[in-house]
């Protein structure tokens, strides 16, 4: 390296150091200054250190001049730094020696984000069901009448099909044939899976579902469901109860009890409500039942050959119960102070 090259490099170094330290002073930012200090004066990989390596490469004759120049530059940059520190310090620059190091000052916190509690609940439920052999699947949120109602054994005159109880799409979307709507339950996914899969089937379907509800502390027009489905040659209600019992024990704790209450859902028969006894109270957990033979037939299965069970849980209810959330609207307001709690 020629002496000129070396000196040019040193000059550049001073120029950029001036710029960086001034920048820190302008911004009145100690962090920027510290970054600049490391950049230039850092013991390991500071630029001054690198420049020093260049000193070894100038010819022997030029070394004394180069060395002198290097020392001047080093001193210059150190002065620049000290003066920047002085400018930044409120006391007006008594010098570093008079500053007391306060170990009780708070550390510099990392900005950490949070996964939404609904997502956390869904992931945990999927995880538990995964360990019981259920694979998670998803499907479209915009559905046709067939998948949302017909295939689920919900006849035209059933109240669930009332236009006011569903988010039907306006006429323009009907070109695809038949009415389209935002799905009112994730059972639609089960139908889609069964239509394309031969038994055995063991899945959980999950996602957003929609029902026109006046929004208040306990209702929201959009919510999340997770549904389990198991179809095989010999699936019984005892299997259903056993799977739900394992599920409840995993989610809530070993001493959980479950019970079935008769209920009615068009797509299952027998249909039951599932309650779980937790902390001495029975909590309504969700609906379940044996897949109705009409549903099996509608997807091309033979109800004389296979049986199956299905169950569905509202994610919001579990999430709110677990985290002590008392108003469902909190979940969708996205207030950072709420989100940061989970």
């Amino acid at each position: 390296m020629s002496l000129n090259d070396f000196i040019r490099e040193l000059d550049n170094l001073v120029d950029s150091a001036v710029e960086r330290f001034n920048d820190a002073v302008d911004k009145f930012d100690g962090e920027v200054l510290e970054a600049a200090r490391v950049e230039f004066l850092g013991a390991k990989s500071g630029k001054l250190k690198s420049a020093q390596k260049g000193l070894g490469k100038v010819s022997k004759d030029d070394k004394p001049v180069a060395g002198k120049r290097f020392n001047e530059v080093k001193q210059r940059i150190e002065e620049l730094f000290e003066s920047a520190v002085a400018k930044l310090s409120e006391s007006g620059g008594d010098g570093k020696s008079s500053e007391a190091f306060d170990v009780s000052l708070p550390g510099t916190l990392l900005p950490v984000g949070h996964v939404h509690p609904i997502t956390q609940t869904i992931e945990e439920l999927k995880d538990i069901m995964g360990r019981l052999g259920f694979s998670a699947v998803e499907g479209p949120e915009i559905e046709d009448d067939w998948h949302n109602f017909e295939a689920l054994n919900i006849p035209l005159e059933h109240p669930a099909r009332d236009p006011l109880d569903n988010f039907y799409l306006n006429a323009a979307a009907k070109a695809a044939g038949g009415d389209m709507l935002l799905r009112s339950q994730t059972s639609t996914v089960q139908i889609r899976v069964m239509e394309n899969t031969k038994p055995p089937v063991r899945i959980v379907s999950l996602g957003r579902v929609y029902r026109p509800d006046e929004i208040d502390a306990t209702h929201y027009a959009m919510f999340h469901q997770i549904e389990g489905l198991m179809i095989d040659t010999d699936v019984t209600m005892a299997d259903l109860k056993s799977v739900l019992h394992l599920f409840a024990k995993t989610y809530l704790g070993q001493d959980v009890e479950i019970r079935f209450r008769p209920s009615f859902f068009p797509f299952t028969e027998p249909s039951v409500e599932v309650d779980m006894r937790w902390n001495d109270t029975w909590l309504e957990f969700g609906g379940a039942g044996m897949v109705d033979p009409n549903v099996l037939r509608s997807v091309g299965y033979d109800p004389e050959e296979v049986t199956g069970f299905a169950f569905g849980l509202g994610v919001e209810r579990l999430c709110m119960r677990r985290h002590g959330v008392n108003d469902i609207r909190h979940l969708y307001n996205n207030n950072v102070r709420f989100l940061s709690q989970f």
């Binding site: 984000g113 996964v115 323009a172 979307a173 063991r202 299997d239 109860k241 394992l246 989100l339």
Partner: protein, 671 residues
């Protein structure tokens, strides 16, 4: 369904406590929702599922209790005899559409004395929270609550002409109901009409013109069956719900309509006097004969997982009112009762047996077969995205999929089409399926600003719904982000995300114009020529439109593209252990030269020793460099796999880079 404890005891002697009763009916499917004292009676709230309209009357619930507690049930015979003129002499009933009204039974009573109801009747209705009107109206309500069959009493003198017709409403027909409000009817609505016009909306509500008042002396008693769907449609449209419409929507027992009519007349004769016209008018057809259903006993084990003894099965089915037609060794054939239209298949009988036998007998420790399950690739990718976003200080948001027209038109990156709309808004004014998640996040941003929350760093993984002609819409997951960082800050988040999913992927940016974004600071991001998404600073007008105080940046990425580029199972590459050499280059270039052009030149000319090109900063010195120039400071990191580089080698690479940059971009090395 509100139930009076005393009333239930009219039909059977319940020698159990209320608590035991409520527990037991709950476990049979009549969910207990609470109770309270009304006077000296107890009002129980029992939740009735839509398949059991027979439970919408006290008799039906008593019938269920008689099975559960093995008690005898007594239902009043309701025998009445007409002594007056033949009813057909002065009333006719015409049904224009039997699909809507399969049967209509009319009776008439002359010379009644309308007045207040006796105390026992008043108390019964009050226990259930039903307003007391007068003895005749109260009796129709009483029988409704007794058997679940709606009844209506018309003031016969106010029926014009010979009788009534069940028909569709005329276009533009108006009707004043007993709530004294006027309703505009449509041909989809059905009415009971006399010669002049409608006297009742069939199945929903009677009319003010023919209502029974203190002056009424002659009555026409209507008991009918109306089809569920039209009743519901009319009731919904007119926002007019009644105890009657509620029951017709669920279906009435066609074989008990006549009993209800007789029971009503019996009570009116008792409490309001008068003379019953001889006979009744039965319009329409007789109910279809009920079909038998066979239960194969092995099906119980196959479905429920437990055995139920054959005699227990027979006992349950017969106590529930099924006529046992035949019993063989492995099967039993029954004819279900008239009030159970929901029983017509074998599986229905399986459920009945399970329900009464008790679900508590089903074990919860069956050996469920093991099965492998896999986590989908899409799930893995999303989990990795969430982990990275959280590490980048972003909070996950969940916002509504349906937005206002204004929001749906705010960003056009994915589709320029009009958003799909739903017939019912999700909240007021929000009926568009969103084409971008960004407006929703900006809405959340505004709300957080209002509460002085900082920092506001939000992301959401959700679907957008892009219309397609003649097809289901393209539902596409996007990762949507809004940040208080500047353009490069947010771009850094996106690039970090992409590199965390696939270290070797290169994201390129090109200018992109959209009204949501600043003219200068906006870009379309691409990966391998595919659109990954969009990123930019919010435009001034958008910031204003979303009422934001602070500048904000946004980005939205196509999740499918991220999924495709993700390396799910990274493979190990050998890496050298020799140290690096770095060189800073401070180049004076034209203002118009973009970083990625410069970077490309640096990369190609550096050769294989180049490990990294790092952008440092840009500054301008128009005095020294002239106008239209900028200084770009960059650092190159060099490494050889097999040796420690010498300074000369590093300088050679730097010189090669400088030469190329001079040649291709007329760049000048500073100094």
């Amino acid at each position: 369904m509100l139930v009076s404890w005393k009333w239930l005891n009219d039909y059977l002697q319940l020698d159990v406590s209320e608590a035991e009763f409520c527990d037991r009916v709950t476990m049979a499917g009549l969910n207990y929702d609470g109770s309270e004292s009304v006077g000296d009676d107890r009002q129980l709230d029992l939740e009735v599922t839509s398949n059991r309209p027979d439970w919408l009357g006290h008799v039906g619930i008593a019938r269920e209790a008689s099975v559960l507690f093995d008690l005898d049930l007594k239902i009043p015979p309701a025998d009445v005899s007409g002594t007056g003129q033949k009813i057909s002499d002065y009333v006719t009933v015409t049904i224009e559409d039997e699909a809507f009204c399969p049967r209509y039974i009319a009776r008439a009573i002359k010379g009644v004395k309308v007045g207040p109801s006796p105390e026992w009747l008043t108390r019964r209705l009050e226990t259930l929270g039903i307003n007391v009107i007068n003895n005749v109206v109260d009796i129709t309500n009483y029988v409704l609550m007794e058997i679940g069959q709606p009844l209506h009493a018309f003031d016969l003198a106010k029926i014009d002409g010979a009788g009534v017709t069940v028909r569709q409403a005329r276009p533009g027909e108006k009707f004043m109901a007993i709530d004294h409000k006027t309703y505009d009817l449509e041909p989809n609505d059905y009415v009971i009409a006399d010669e002049v016009g409608a006297v009742a909306i069939a199945g929903v509500m009677g009319g003010a013109d023919s209502e029974v008042t203190e002056e009424t002396t002659d009555l026409l008693i209507e008991a009918a069956q109306f089809a569920a769907l039209p009743v519901r449609t009319t009731s919904r449209r007119l926002k007019l719900k009644s105890d009657s419409s509620y029951r017709f929507e669920r279906g009435v027992d066609p074989e008990m309509i006549d009993w209800a009519s007789r029971r009503c007349c019996e009570l009116i004769l008792d409490l309001a006097g008068g003379e019953l016209a001889e006979g009744s008018i039965y319009a329409g057809s007789q109910p279809q004969p009920r079909k038998s259903v066979t239960l194969r006993l092995p099906q119980l084990k196959r479905i429920l997982g437990i055995n139920v003894p054959a005699d227990e099965v027979e006992r349950i089915l017969s106590r529930l009112g099924n006529d046992i037609e035949s019993v063989a060794s492995q099967k039993i054939t029954v004819i279900p009762p008239s009030w159970r239209r929901d029983i017509d298949r074998e599986i229905d009988l399986v459920e009945e047996v399970a329900r009464i036998h008790g679900y508590d007998k089903i074990p919860q420790d069956a050996a469920v077969k093991m099965s492998a399950s896999h986590r989908s690739d899409a799930d893995r990718v999303r989990n990795r995205i969430r982990t990275l976003m959280v590490a980048a200080g972003m909070n996950e948001a969940v916002t509504r999929s349906v937005v206002s027209k204004e929001w749906s038109a705010a960003f056009h990156g994915w589709s320029k089409a009009e958003a799909l709309t739903v017939t019912t808004p999700m909240v007021r004014g929000e009926d568009c399926l969103r084409l971008s998640v960004l407006p929703s996040l900006l809405g959340a941003r505004r709300m957080n600003e209002k509460f002085d929350n900082t920092p506001i760093e939000l992301y959401e993984i959700a679907k957008v719904y892009l219309p397609r002609k003649g097809e289901l819409p393209d539902e596409r997951y996007v990762v949507s982000i809004t940040s208080g960082r500047d353009f490069r800050g947010l771009k850094g988040v996106v690039e970090t995300l992409v590199h965390s999913l696939s270290p070797d992927v290169r994201v390129t940016a090109s200018r992109f114009a959209d009204s949501l974004l600043d003219v200068e600071q906006a870009c379309e991001l691409k990966v391998d020529g595919k659109t990954l998404g969009y990123l930019g600073l919010l435009s001034g007008s958008a910031q204003k439109a979303f009422e934001l105080q602070q500048p904000a940046t946004v980005a939205e990425l196509d999740l499918r593209v991220l999924e495709e580029l993700t390396v799910l199972i990274p493979q190990h590459h050998d890496f050298g252990t020799y140290p690096t050499m770095t060189r800073d280059l401070n180049l004076i270039v034209d203002e118009t030269l973009a970083w990625d052009q410069l970077e490309a030149t640096v990369t190609t000319s550096a050769g294989e020793l180049l490990e990294q090109v790092e952008y440092r900063e840009i500054f301008r010195d128009t005095k020294k460099d002239g106008p239209g120039k900028k200084r770009v400071l960059l650092t190159i990191t060099l490494r050889a796999e097999d040796r420690t580089l010498t300074g000369e080698e590093a300088d050679a690479v730097r010189d090669a880079i400088v030469t190329s940059c001079e040649k291709q971009h007329e760049a000048k090395l500073l100094g």
